[in-house]
Amino acid sequence: MDLSREGVVDGLQRIVEPGDVITDEKILIESSVDNFRKLQNIFGVHTMPVPAAVVMARSTEKVAAILRFADRHGINVIPRTGGTATEGGLESAVPDSIVIDGSAMNEVVNIDAYNMQATCQCGVPLQVLEDRVRELGLTTGHSPQSKPVAHMGGLVATRSIGQFSTLYGGIEDMVVGLEAVFPNGAVTRIKNVPRRAAGPDIRHVVIGNEGALCFITEVTVKLFPYFPENNVFLGYTLKDMKTGFEALRAVMVNGYKPSVARVYDPGDAGLHFSHFVADDDCVLLFMAEGPAGIAKATAAGVEGIVAAFPECTRVDSAYIETWFNDLCWGPDKITAEDERIRQTRNVNRTTEISADWSSINDIYQAARARIIEEIPDITMMGGHSSHSYINGTNMYFNYFFNVVDVGPAEETTKYYLPIISIICEETLKRGGSIVHHHGIGKARAPWVKDEYGSSYYILETLKQAFDPDGIMNKGTIFPL
C-alpha cells in the first residue's frame, strides 16, 4: 500500500461525493467487525484495525472506480451490505482498509412475474424483496433467520441458505444471473437464462466468493408461487439423533421434498420446545408446502415414512406451526439477546457443517462429546440438522458458554475458536465439509486447504487470476 490513511480518504473523496466517504470513528469501528466478535461489540471492546473509510457505493460505475483506485494503490477492500456475517468475513484484517458499503444500492430493479425472476441491487434487504413479491402472490423461497436484516448482495456472497432449502435449495439454486465488479474495475454481467451448457457455470465464481474475488452489485433470483394456506406441519418426539437422521434420510431418499425437514437434539430442542418435550427428547419436524395437491401428498408421504420409525411419537402440529411463525431474527430479538449476554456473559455461538448420511451422526456425537469434555464453562451443547439432501445433511451445532475469568477480547481464543477447531477436526476426519452455509470467513480460513484437498488448486488459481494484487478482503477464505 503506497498511500497514507489520509491519502486513502482523499482519493476516495475524488471518486465519490465527499459525503459518501465516512470517517466517523464510531462507524469505522462498527465496520471493522461482524458478529464473529459479537461479545466484543456488546461490551464496546475493539481489537481489529480500524478502516480508513467506509465508502457508500451508489452505482456500479462508482464501485468499479473505487476498486480500480484500491487495486492501483494496494489497499485492502472489504465489501459489505447488511453486515450480518458471523464468521469474521467482514473484519478488517489489516489497517487502513476501505469498506465498500453497498447498502445504499437498494433498488428493486425489476420483478418479472411472467418469467418468474426478480432483479435487485446488492443493498436490497431480503425482507423488502420478499414483501414486494408476496404482494404478487410470489415468494423468493429464501428465508434465512437473518431475513429481516440481511441484504441480497451479502446473501449471495456467502452462499446463504434458508429455512425452506429442502424444497427451494440454497441461494446458489436461486440465482439465475448477476452483476459483479472485479478489482481491475471490470464490470461483468452474467445473463439471466434458465440453464446453459456453454462451458463452466461462472455464476459459481461469484456466488460464495465472500468479497475475496469481487463486489456483487446486482442479482437476479428465481420466484415461486406462494401458497401459505396449504402449509402442513408435522412434529415428532424421539429419543436419539441417530433415529432422527435415519428418518430424515428415509424422507429424502424416497423422493419427498418437504420445505422444512429438521431434527433437534435434546439440548437444542430444550431451547425451542421445552413446553411440550421431556429433557431427553429430540424433536423431528417437517413442513410441506406448495400447491394443495403437492403439499398434501408430501405431508402424507412423510407421515407414512416416519410411521415406520416406532420411536417417533407424533405431537400436535400446532406446536410446530407456532414455533415456525417465530423463527426469524429481527433487530428486536438481536437487541434483547445482546442485553442478555451483557448481563449474564453467557454467549451463544453456532457452527454448521455437512456430511453424508454415513458420517453425520458420528461427527455430531464425536464433536459434541469432545466439546463438553475439553471446553470449560459450557452451559449448553446441542444442535440440529436443518438442510437435507439426497446424499446427506447438515449439522448446525448450537452452543452456549459462560465467559469466565477473561475479558470480551479473549472470548474467541479461550472458547469460540477451540470449539470451532474441534468441530472442523471431527468433520474433516470423516470427509465432511467444515462450512455448510455461513461462509468460511476468517474464522475457518485456517482449515481451507484441508477442506479443499487437491482441489485447492482451483480455488487458489481463481484468487490469483481475479485478484492478483490480493486487495480483496484479506484473510477471508484465504488465510493471511
Binding site: H275, D279, T322, W323, N325, T344, I372
Partner: protein
C-alpha cells in the same frame, strides 16, 4: 418424582441465618405468538398452549437478585439459604432444575390443580391465572410452614391474569410488610437488609429489620445467570419437590370459588396510529416536507 408429602425436615431451619424464598411463574412468551394467531381457549383467555414458556421477567430479576444476595451475604459471614417456589405444572420443572444447578438448595412446585392430581399435559394453562388469592395463599403457607422463610422475593407482576396483588396478599397472609418496585437488595447482617426501590417521588433506599416481602420491579438486573453443564451434572440428583396445595392447608377449589374477579371474555384493544410516509428525493427534502406540512404551525404557535 411424584407428588411428595410435606417435608419440613429436609433442611433444618437453624442451619441458615437468612432463609430466602424466591417465587416465580413461567408465562407464555407472547412475543412468540403472532397477533393473527390469537385465539380464545376453551377455558377462556388467549390460547397459549402451543407457545413456549419463559420466566416472567420480574420474577427472573427476583431469582437473580436472590442469588446475588446470597453471594454478598456469604462474603459478610452470613449464610443465606435459597429456596425457589412456583405454583405451576410440569412445564416449570426445567426452571427449577436450572435454579438447583445455580445453587438454590430447595426447589418446589405446587401444581395449580385442585385435589385429584395434576393434568398430564405439559404446557397446559395454569388454572390459577385469574386467582391471585389462591396463589398468594399457597406461597404464604409454603413460606410459613415449609420454608420458614425470613424473606419472600417475587416479581411485582406477571403475565396473563396479572392482578398485581399477589405480593400484597402474601404479605397480608404472613402479617409482614411489603416493599414494592424493589430494584436492589443487599444483606447487612443476618436480620438487616438494605433495599432500593422506586417510590412515587423517586428512588428510595431503606434499611429493614425483620421478615418482609419484596416485590421486584424494574431492576437493572433482569436476567438470570446460566449454570454450566457441569453444575447441572453435579446437582442432577437433587430432587424437585412437588407439594399438593392441600398439603399446605390450601383448598384450591374452595378458595377459587371465593375469587371475585373472573374473566368472561377478551378483545384486542386497537392501539394502532395513523402514519404518513413522507416522500422525497433526499433526507433534506423529506425533512423540509415534514417541517412545512407538520411542524411549522406548531412551532409558530409555541
Amino acid at each position: 418424582m411424584g407428588m411428595g408429602g410435606l417435608n419440613t425436615e429436609a433442611i433444618p431451619s437453624q442451619m441458615s441465618d437468612l432463609r430466602v424464598l424466591a417465587c416465580f411463574k413461567a408465562t407464555p412468551d407472547f412475543e412468540a405468538l403472532r397477533e393473527a394467531d390469537w385465539a380464545t381457549a376453551a377455558a377462556g383467555g388467549v390460547e397459549t398452549r402451543y407457545v413456549r414458556r419463559v420466566l416472567n421477567c420480574f420474577d427472573e430479576s427476583a431469582l437473580e437478585l436472590a442469588l446475588r444476595l446470597s453471594e454478598t451475604a456469604a462474603r459478610r459471614g452470613v449464610r443465606a439459604e435459597l429456596g425457589a417456589l412456583s405454583v405451576g405444572g410440569r412445564d416449570v420443572e426445567p426452571y427449577l432444575k436450572t435454579l438447583v444447578a445455580l445453587g438454590y438448595e430447595r426447589a418446589t412446585r405446587v401444581p395449580p390443580e385442585a385435589a385429584g392430581g395434576e393434568s398430564e399435559v405439559a404446557g397446559g394453562e395454569s388454572g390459577l391465572d385469574f386467582a391471585p388469592g389462591v396463589v398468594a395463599s399457597i406461597i404464604a403457607a409454603y413460606a410459613q410452614r415449609v420454608a420458614h422463610s425470613d424473606l419472600v422475593v417475587l416479581g411485582w407482576r406477571s403475565g396473563p391474569g396479572d392482578s398485581g396483588t399477589v405480593p400484597f396478599r402474601v404479605a397480608e397472609a404472613l402479617g409482614w410488610p411489603c416493599l414494592t418496585q424493589v430494584t436492589e437488595v443487599e444483606p447487612l447482617s443476618d436480620d438487616r437488609l438494605r433495599v432500593a426501590c422506586v417510590a412515587d417521588d423517586g428512588p428510595l433506599r431503606l434499611t429493614l429489620r425483620g421478615p418482609c416481602v419484596l416485590a421486584v420491579g424494574n431492576a437493572v438486573v433482569s436476567h438470570l445467570r446460566v449454570p454450566t453443564l457441569k453444575d447441572r451434572l453435579a446437582r442432577r440428583h437433587r430432587p424437585i419437590e412437588v407439594l399438593a396445595a392441600a398439603d399446605l392447608g390450601v383448598d384450591i377449589a374452595a378458595q377459587r370459588h371465593r375469587e371475585t374477579c373472573l374473566p368472561t371474555g377478551f378483545e384486542t384493544i386497537d392501539r394502532s396510529r395513523r402514519g404518513v410516509v413522507i416522500e422525497g428525493q433526499s433526507p433534506h427534502d423529506k425533512a423540509q416536507t415534514l417541517f412545512d406540512s407538520r411542524l411549522r404551525d406548531i412551532m409558530e404557535t409555541l
